[in-house]
C-alpha cells in the first residue's frame, strides 16, 4: 500500500540522517543519543514493514526491540559515566544511572 511505503521511506531517510550524526558526533554522548534515536526509528520501521507485508506479527519483534534499545542505552550511558557496569566502589554513589 502507498501509505506504508511512504512511511517506510521517511523512516529510512530519518535513520540515515541520524546515523550521520552518530558518525560525526563530536562527543560520545552525541553518538549514544543518535544511536538511541536510530533504534527507536527501527521499532517504527519494523512495525510499518509488518503492515506493509500483511503480517502484523512483526509487532512482537518491534516490542522486543524497544525493550533491548532501552536497556542498551542505559547500559552504555552507565558504562561511559562510571567506566564500570557494577556498583561504584569508592566515592559518592550518585544513583545507578
Amino acid at each position: 500500500m502507498l501509505l506504508f511505503s511512504v512511511a517506510c521511506v521517511v523512516i529510512i531517510l530519518s535513520m540515515t540522517l541520524s546515523l550521520f550524526r552518530a558518525f560525526i558526533g563530536p562527543t560520545v554522548f552525541d553518538r549514544i543519543l543518535a544511536v538511541n534515536v536510530t533504534g527507536t526509528l527501527t521499532v517504527a520501521l519494523i512495525a510499518v514493514y509488518g503492515f506493509l507485508d500483511g503480517r502484523p506479527e512483526f509487532l512482537d519483534i518491534a516490542l522486543l526491540y524497544a525493550l533491548i534499545n532501552f536497556v542498551g542505552t542505559i547500559a552504555v550511558s552507565k558504562y561511559v559515566k562510571y567506566r564500570d557496569l557494577g556498583h561504584p566502589i569508592e566515592g559518592p554513589d550518585g544513583g545507578d544511572v
Binding site: 530519518s14 549514544i32 534515536v37 517504527a44
Partner: protein
C-alpha cells in the same frame, strides 16, 4: 473492528483517512526532529530533537497503524509499544543527560561560540564600555 470506521468518505474509508492524517503528521515530526539532531549546537539541545522523534513522531505513526489493524490483539500490541516508548524515552534522556554532565559536557560554551560569530562582533565591543 468498529463499524463507523468503514464509512466511505470520498475515495477512502474513514479509517484510511485517519491513518493518512496520523502517519503523515508523524513522518513530518520525525523528519523535523532528525533535522534538529543534525543542526542543533550541543548534546543537551540535540536531546530536544530526540524527544520530538520519540514522542510525537513514533507515537503518531503507531497511532496511525492502529486504524489499519484487523484484530484487536494487534491494537493491543501497538498500544503496548506506544506505552513503553512513553515511559522509556524520558528515562533514557535523563540518564544520558546525567552521564553527559558527569562526563564534563557543559551547556555553556556552545552559546558563547554562537555569540562569537562575525555578525555579533559589534555587540561584543559595546559590552566592555558599559562595565
Amino acid at each position: 473492528m468498529l463499524d463507523f470506521l468503514d464509512i466511505m468518505i470520498g475515495p477512502l474509508a474513514l479509517a484510511d483517512w485517519l491513518s493518512w492524517f496520523f502517519i503523515i503528521s508523524g513522518s513530518f515530526f520525525t523528519v523535523v526532529g532528525v533535522i534538529g539532531i543534525i543542526r542543533l549546537p550541543d548534546v543537551f539541545s540535540r536531546m530536544h530533537g530526540a524527544g520530538l522523534v520519540d514522542t510525537l513522531g513514533i507515537m503518531l505513526i503507531l497511532t496511525g497503524l492502529m486504524f489499519q489493524a484487523d484484530e484487536w490483539i494487534v491494537v493491543i500490541k501497538l498500544f503496548l509499544i506506544l506505552l513503553f516508548i512513553l515511559f522509556t524515552s524520558p528515562s533514557t534522556t535523563f540518564a544520558l543527560a546525567r552521564a553527559a554532565i558527569h562526563g564534563g559536557v557543559t551547556p555553556g560554551p556552545a552559546v558563547d561560540e554562537i555569540l562569537d560569530t562575525p555578525n555579533n562582533t559589534p555587540k561584543k565591543e559595546t559590552d566592555p564600555s558599559k562595565t
